[in-house]
């Protein structure tokens, strides 16, 4: 029998890993901390709600749709807002504020959608959870199997995309040196747009799976973004594999830490859960600002394996 706390931590950390991997990918391309990343996921939580409550179909159909919707939302942010600003030489502060603005737009749209669904279909669209619609596999909720499988599948696929395909290597090249990438004939804008689409898609997948385990609300993006940033920073912000590990680490620490503190100090501590990722983020920035990636590189250098 797997303890519920371990199960919860596994699901949350895997979904967080999807989110932090995407956030890091966008940061690597445009060097903009994207504050709308949580809302990409929040938007797709409603796809699952619509599929389950209105269309009465398998909730896991939302994974593919979530990927596409998340990708499109991210692509709009990059292509319609950030790219024109970048072309005009906007500073990173301006770009960051632009992502906050886009986040506000998405948040408003999610609220409009929630109200529309609530009034038209008479379904609960705030503080809803779809746990009861999940299947059970080996006496466990299916999400407990799907979330880790999805996380592993995503990181392995990304590895193969970035190291084994011409377009993936072009993405790495354009991220490292956009000027030289242009020189060799790579369409840098296309590779960046693809990175944003993939990043948004990953957030969309995480969002589509979230309602099967977590209480969802239109503001879930804002609640998640602290953990997502913490995971990306712990991962080093410039390495998607580091971000993936950061997501697993922060997710585990957040759920297990809160659970352990609730048992020892009392349940009053539970609302202070976001402090855990913030503390880990602060400690990382103070003692290992390059995150897990930097620690890994230092270790490799010491052992002489460049």
């Amino acid at each position: 029998m797997i303890p519920p706390m371990i199960r919860d931590a596994t699901i949350f950390s895997c979904l967080l890993a999807l989110l932090s991997t995407g956030l890091t990918l966008t940061y690597m391309t445009t060097k903009v901390p994207n504050f709308a990343h949580g809302s990409f996921a929040a938007m797709t939580t409603y796809i699952t709600l619509i599929l389950v409550k209105i269309l009465k179909v398998n909730p896991y159909f939302s994974v593919g749709l979530g990927f596409i919707l998340g990708g499109v939302i991210a692509l709009i942010l990059y292509q319609v807002i950030l790219k024109p600003l970048l072309d005009r030489g906007a500073s990173y502060i301006v770009l960051m504020i632009a992502t906050i603005g886009y986040d506000m737009i998405l948040y408003s749209l999610i609220n409009i959608l929630a109200d529309y669904l609530n009034r038209t279909y008479k379904i609960s669209t705030r503080l809803y959870i779809l746990k009861s619609y999940d299947f059970r596999v080996f006496h466990q909720p299916c999400i407990f199997i799907v979330a880790p499988v999805m996380a592993v599948l995503v990181i392995v696929s990304l590895y193969f995309l970035l190291t084994r395909t011409r377009f993936g290597i072009a993405m790495r090249a354009a991220i490292e040196n956009p000027a030289l990438a242009g020189v060799v004939g790579i369409n840098v804008n296309l590779t960046y747009a693809a990175s944003w689409f993939i990043a948004g898609g990953l957030a969309g997948v995480a969002g589509a799976l979230l309602p099967l385990w977590l209480m969802c609300n239109p503001d879930i993006g804002g609640r998640l973004i602290v953990s997502v940033f913490a995971a990306s920073i712990v991962g080093g912000l410039t390495n998607i594999y580091g971000a993936f590990l950061g997501g697993i680490l922060i997710g585990m620490a957040e759920v297990l830490g809160t659970g352990y503190l609730s048992l020892t100090v009392g349940t009053w501590i539970a609302p202070y859960r976001p402090i855990i990722p913030l503390v880990i983020m602060a400690v990382t920035l103070l003692f290992a600002p390059t995150g897990l990636t930097g620690i890994g590189l230092r270790f490799l250098r010491r052992s002489g394996k460049r």
Binding site: E176, A179, G182, V183, I186, R306
Partner: protein
Amino acid sequence: MIEINGLNAGYKRLHVLYDISLRFEKNKINVVVGPNGSGKSTLLKSIFGLTTIYSGSIKFNGVKLNGLMPHQIARRGIAYLPQVDNVFSNLTVAENMLMAGYTLRREEVEERIEEVSETFPVIKRYWKSKAGFLSGGERQMVAMAMALLRKPKVMMFDEPTGSLAPKIANEVLEKIVELRDTLGIMIILVEQNAKKALEIGDKAYLLVGGRLVFHGDSRELLEHPELGKLYLGISG
């Protein structure tokens, strides 16, 4: 042939080049020299679509290049080797070569790599190494091999010998001569070491303060009684 007429260019509001008109010739080493900050690198970047062009035109074999993106200019057969960061440090030499042939078909890339490795054997020696771990000279050779892979009609070098040991710098310049002699590529060479560059060059262009003050044969500039001394530190 590259023909530049009345070019005024710079970076956003920073005007660097003033009314430049010149022609770079086929099958020749065209050397662009001048003191620091004279706009040599900006001239190359302007040809490659990396600056703001206020007025004037740049034509390659009669086709206007102004307004094209760097990747579109690269596809027209012009290769540009920047002064620094001219290889992808985090990619292996193999991946760098693959990226160099990004606009070609995969089979064609493999074929070209075999051909290019005859001129630059360094690429096969360090095939699986990350380019960032190579020495300056080796990196320069990889950068040249990358440019050559695309069978360019024009290769533009921005200070290829900068920060290299004299022996390695000579090897790099010898390779440039070899590219002209064996492949007939038009070379545009921006070089801080003006004397060495003019010695291997055919045509020379002297930029001072963003303006063209001399163009003619390299030897002529090398032996010019005043210009070399005044602007290039070449003692007669």
